[in-house]
């Protein structure tokens, strides 16, 4: 800060004369005459001088002596108005009398210096600004001639300077040329080579804050203030999201082969697998968590959803089937590799026959050579433009992909073909109850092609072929009927979860409304008739799930034969009656789409079905054609932030932040920690929370690994004391033999110790890495390491979760809970009952949802802590008791930081002083030390669980004030060991109460923990 101030001051004083003083060493110099000539004649000016001036004077020093010989007393002029005395003042003894010549010379020098200072403008204002108001004229800054003549020269110079400073146009085309369609397309195609653009990118870029994430340009949040409006849209109306960035993997092959290959990657423990009956028939979309083959419960790859292509011949397992796996882009690399390994698909299929779309390849090929040419010369550019004028097309799909990179792989042994269909389809998500009416209003089923219409000119041959088949026509009619029925259903939540409906629709641009309006459910359709009831009961029949979007050839042709907006508008303008319905007849495109019902909130008791909606799959190239009609029917667009809010209110984990055990989650946590650390460091220490004093060990990332390990050792340490629950045996058989209540002899207790010590030793370096992570987030370890080598896992076994969720609630909380427990065959919560669970998942995390009892809104990385006995007593006495406070911790690093700073200062002084070379080795070791940051814990973390006054159980990953519930809600992970230990200790009436404390606050607040299935 002071530096900037100095600079500003120096700039201001640039033209001011400097102080002129005689040498101070007069007495010492008196005797030594010769020395003085070379010495500095004049003290470095102290006031009002800029550093460059000083350097100038030192540079100037050498030529001085010989000059000084010529003139006995002489005053030199400095360039910038300052002036300096010759060395005469010191080299000669002070005379007893003043000679007139020296007197006059000194005066003359001063006059000239002052003259210079006066004539030059001192401030950094423009020349015409120095003029008084009444002398100013219009356009003085442009036209030099309007200034008084004495100032014209200076203004001329200034104008030249300004021209230099102005940024030169980097574009070699004029504005008009840049706006021309062809060039714009070229430019857009070039710009989406680094990060993939969705088809709706331009639309989003105008209305959203766009972030570059996961190799895509994605809308983060709308620029308008719309947090609450988006929530209302989700609950009452319709929120539209472009999820086209989701990746799709296609597996083609025999059904049994695919199932055999994929079955080791998923576990029946976590729910339904790929072989679920409903999903296998193609009737429903399934979702599951993928694991590395045979590695369950470790080695999580991530959550996916999948659809089977509806089979034509039921019961035939050897028939060739098609399976689409949809996944988040961060998980794609790992899952693709694993699936490839599982299916033994190693041979890449050469791209030429297999690339499903020939369209982007030519445009890619043509635009690529054209671009480098542009920069070379104008002549060539023009020629290229001429050639390119016609074929330059909008770029659809993945622009970053190397055209020669294989997209599909085949296995010789199993015959499975895996292809990567990323960006080959658009996926739009409509959330909210109005999505039905928006869909039914925006989309109209394609008209069936009649015999006798002229078929020669139309490019949509596939539809004509289809229409010749009466079965296909009747299927289309049935799909249309069901789609019409959807309009009468009030909420998508009423439809069975994951229902798939195929459809072929006409061009949605044709019946675009004139103005943006809100589609409202038609009350006439909402009659509770028999058909609707049947649809709700049975779901969409299997046949109707069929769609032509599964066939690449059809998709290609649909993408290629899309009539452009320009042509469509041209035709519209040629209508006889302006504004009437445009009838294209057989030329109208027929687009195959797939509608997939997205279940909303499936877990928990309250608000079931909240946030349900429909996903629309479209062939590529049609994104904007569908997007605008949806928007025009009253859908509100949301970005990534809205997706996060949606998943939070739905209480479902968000990819990738809520998967701490998969590599994408680890990577995400690291990046986030880095970002937060940067942000934290940018604030001055007094204006940011001192996390050490608050007792927050890891404010920026959650040390899951250490948390689970610490809980394990904590529980083990407690086992030694009598009365605690018995130590864990090595295996289940050992434990089964022993009577649980009997305090066991020493032998089995040693066994786990022995088993654990080498384990922990082996984990040594990794543990170090993990503990480093919060303080020095930059030094965090490899992303893949966690997934491969650690014991950390997230509990996803449904049986175990069911058990836990029953234990979590207060056991005397109501008759319902009491009834449920025996009905489900649950056991009571006893330490013994926990043992099998702990044995199976030694270091597991449990996904929990928390709702605050009173005030407070939790934020991410809030700590979940175990309440102490006295907290319960206080709460029992006072219902409105907020919660305990964390006492202030001492900051052991503060003195260290101060010492380091002092050391640095000393070094700096040394460096400045004698020699720079000597200072360097001294500074070496200090640089090697990690730089401490005030307010952050540095070095390996101590025991995270017992650092604060309340034992730490876990961390919150998503948390906010929930508008759906009306109180603070959070989602997070807790250590399984810790949770069971806590629950065992808590009195039955208050079971499931925990404390939440945000990282930057000492206040604990009560919350109720729940595990939802």
């Amino acid at each position: 800060m002071s530096n900037a101030k100095e600079r500003k001051h120096a700039k201001k004083m640039r033209n001011q004369p400097t102080n002129v003083t005689l040498s101070s060493g007069f007495v010492a110099d008196r005797g030594v005459k010769h020395h003085n000539g070379g010495g500095k004649a004049f003290q470095a000016p102290r006031l009002g001088t800029a550093p460059p001036r000083q350097t100038k004077t030192t540079h100037y020093a050498p030529p001085e002596p010989d000059v000084s010989e010529q003139l006995s007393s002489r005053v030199m002029f400095k360039k910038k108005g300052g002036w300096r005395a010759g060395p005469e003042g010191t080299s000669q003894e002070i005379p007893k009398y003043i000679t007139a010549s020296t007197f006059a010379q000194a005066r003359a020098a001063e006059i000239s210096a002052m003259l210079k200072a006066v004539t030059q403008k001192s401030s950094n204002s423009l020349v015409f600004q120095t003029l008084p108001r009444h002398m100013r004229r219009r356009a003085m800054s442009h036209n030099v001639k309007r200034l008084p003549r004495r100032l014209q020269e200076m203004a001329q110079k200034e104008a030249e300077k300004a021209v230099h400073q102005k940024k030169e146009h980097s574009k070699n085309k004029c504005h008009k040329a840049r706006r021309c369609h062809v060039n714009r397309m070229l430019e857009f195609n070039r710009r989406q080579k680094k990060n993939i653009w969705l088809e709706t990118h331009i639309w989003h870029a105008k209305r959203f804050h766009v972030v570059r994430q996961w190799g895509y340009c994605l809308g983060e949040r709308p620029t308008v203030k719309s947090h609450r409006a988006c929530y209302r849209a989700m609950t009452n109306r319709c929120l539209l999201q472009d999820l086209s960035y989701y990746c799709c993997l296609e597996l083609k092959g025999k059904e049994e082969e695919i199932l055999k290959a994929l079955s080791p990657m998923c576990s029946i423990d976590t729910g339904l697998t790929f072989a679920a009956v409903h999903c296998l028939s193609g009737k429903r979309q399934g979702s599951l968590t993928l694991y590395r083959a045979h590695r369950y419960p470790h080695g999580v790859l991530g959550p996916v959803t999948f659809i089977w292509r509806p089979e034509r011949t039921p019961g035939d397992t050897s028939a060739s089937r098609q399976l689409w796996i949809w996944l988040h882009p961060t998980l794609k690399q790992d899952i693709l590799e694993e699936v490839k390994a599982a299916c033994q698909c190693t041979e890449p299929v050469t791209p030429t026959p297999c690339v499903p779309d020939p369209l982007p390849t030519p445009s890619h090929g043509q635009s690529q050579p054209a671009l480098p040419d542009e920069k070379i010369g104008k002549k060539r550019k023009r020629k290229d433009d001429g050639e390119d004028a016609k074929p330059v097309k909008k770029f659809f799909g993945d622009g970053t992909r190397d055209p020669h990179q294989p997209r599909s792989w085949i296995s010789a042994a199993t015959g499975i073909v895996i292809s990567d269909l990323t960006m080959e389809m658009n996926r739009f998500r409509l959330i909210g109850p109005l999505s039905h009416s928006i869909l039914t209003e925006a989309l109209k089923a394609a008209s069936v092609h009649m015999e006798g219409e002229d078929t020669e000119k139309t490019p949509h041959l596939w539809w004509i072929e289809t229409c010749k088949n009466p079965d296909a026509v009747s299927l289309h009619r049935r799909q249309e009927a069901i789609f019409e029925l959807l309009g009468g259903v009030t909420s998508p939540a009423e439809i069975p979860a994951g229902t798939v409906l195929g459809l072929t629709v006409g061009d949605p641009r044709i019946n675009l409304p004139q103005k943006r309006s809100t589609a409202l459910p038609n009350p006439e359709k909402c009659q509770d008739n028999e058909e609707v009831r049947q649809l709700l009961l049975e779901g969409v029949p299997v046949e109707c799930a069929h769609s032509f979007i599964w066939s690449h050839a059809v998709c290609e042709s649909v993408t290629e034969n899309k009539i452009s907006d320009q042509d469509l508008n041209q035709k519209r303008s040629e209508l006889l009656v302006p504004g009437s319905q445009l009838v294209l007849g057989p030329h109208e495109s027929k687009i195959p789409i797939l509608l997939i019902q997205q279940p909303g909130r499936v877990a928990g008791d309250d608000r079931r079905g909240w946030g349900s909606g429909w996903d629309v799959l479209l062939p590529k190239g049609w994104g904007m054609a569908f997007w605008i009609p949806f928007i025009y029917r009253g859908a509100r667009a949301g970005g990534l932030k809205e997706a996060r809010v949606h998943s939070q209110y739905k209480r479902s984990p968000y990819v990738p932040g809520d998967f701490p055990d998969c590599s994408a989650g680890v990577l995400f946590a690291e990046e986030q920690a880095n970002d937060l650390l940067e942000k934290y460091k940018r604030r001055p220490p007094a204006k940011r929370p001192n996390y050490v004093k608050l007792g927050t060990l890891a404010p920026f990332c959650c040390p899951w690994e250490q948390l689970t390990r610490d809980w394990e050792s904590r529980v083990q340490a407690r086992e030694g004391s009598p009365g605690a629950f018995p130590p864990r045996g090595e295996g289940s058989d050992l434990r089964g033999d022993e009577v649980p209540c009997v305090p066991t002899p020493e032998k089995p207790r040693q066994a786990p110790d022995e088993a654990d010590t080498p384990l922990q030793d082996a984990r040594g370096p990794e543990g170090e890495r993990d503990t480093e992570c919060p303080a020095q987030a930059g030094a965090a370890g490899l992303p893949g390491q966690d997934a491969t080598g650690s014991l950390l896992c997230v509990l996803r076994s449904r049986a175990a979760l069911k058990q836990l969720s029953a234990w979590c609630g207060p056991s005397c909380g109501g008759r319902r809970a009491a009834q449920r427990a025996p009905g489900r065959g649950q056991r009571d919560l006893t330490p013994e009952a926990c043992l099998p669970l702990l044995d199976r998942f030694p270091r597991a995390l449990v996904w929990v949802s928390l709702s605050l009892l009173g005030k407070g809104s939790p934020e991410p990385r809030t700590m979940i802590c175990v309440p102490a006995e006295e907290d319960f007593l206080q709460l029992g006495r006072d219902r409105l008791y907020c919660g305990p406070q964390e006492p202030k911790h001492s900051d052991p690093f503060k003195s260290k930081i101060r010492k380091q700073k002092e050391k640095k200062k000393v070094e700096k002084r040394q460096n400045h002083g004698p020699a720079g070379s000597e200072g360097l080795p001294v500074g070496g070791p200090a640089v090697g030390l990690p730089a401490l940051t005030l307010g952050l814990w540095s070095g390996p973390l101590p025991d995270v669980t017992s650092h604060c006054s309340r034992a730490l159980l876990g961390f919150v990953t998503q948390g906010d004030f929930s508008m759906a519930v009306g109180c603070g809600e959070a989602l997070g992970f807790v250590s399984l060991t810790g949770l069971l230990d806590t629950l065992c200790r808590q009195p039955a009436a208050q079971r499931g109460l925990v404390l939440l404390r945000p990282p930057a606050s000492p206040q604990y607040r009560f919350a109720r923990i729940a595990i939802e299935l």
């Binding site: 000059v67 200072a117 001192s122």
Partner: protein, 169 residues
């Protein structure tokens, strides 16, 4: 305009002893004036004047000094200046006094005044001069001070200002 308004006192250090000029530097002068104000006006005066007080320009050859202080209390400074009788620096004490030439609102007016003043001084010197050699030297310096006025534009244009300065001599 919103700014702190200052007063600039253009003074001349007059001393019989030429060695006084040697010890004239901004820090010494600053301390001297401050001490005098404290002596004359007490603690209040010292505190009132210490805000924004600075030595903006100092020329040991001519003894010209430019002092800056806030407009509200410049009279305290001004009235204290006659009480300066000695300049003390590095253990040496030289008798001297300060002669206030001009009080201005900006540095610029003070500079303008200084030009006028110096010119007048030179002319007086020239008129009173009797020695022929001296007279020539004074004339030379007078023309030099005017020369710069004319050639300042040229000097600005050429980068090597030092050479120009040498050539002028």
């Amino acid at each position: 305009m919103v700014r702190f308004k200052h007063r600039y006192l253009l003074c001349e250090v007059v001393s019989d002893d030429p060695r006084c000029r040697l010890s004239l530097d901004d820090r010494a002068l600053c301390g001297l004036v401050r001490d005098t104000i404290a002596r004359v006006h007490g603690t209040f005066g010292a505190a009132a004047c210490s805000i924004g007080f600075a030595v903006r320009y100092l020329n040991a050859y001519t003894g010209v000094v430019l002092l800056r202080c806030r407009k509200d209390f410049y009279q305290l400074v001004w009235s204290a200046l006659p009480f300066i009788t000695h300049l003390e620096n590095k253990g040496h004490r030289y008798p001297c006094f300060l002669n206030t030439l001009h009080v201005g609102g900006t540095i610029r007016t003070c500079q303008k005044f200084l030009i006028q003043y110096n010119r007048r001084q030179l002319l007086i010197l020239l008129q009173n001069c009797t020695d022929e050699g001296e007279r020539e030297a004074i004339q030379k310096s007078v023309t030099k001070s005017c020369l710069l006025d004319r050639e300042s534009g040229e000097e600005e244009l050429s980068d090597g200002g030092d050479e120009v300065a040498e050539a002028m001599e």
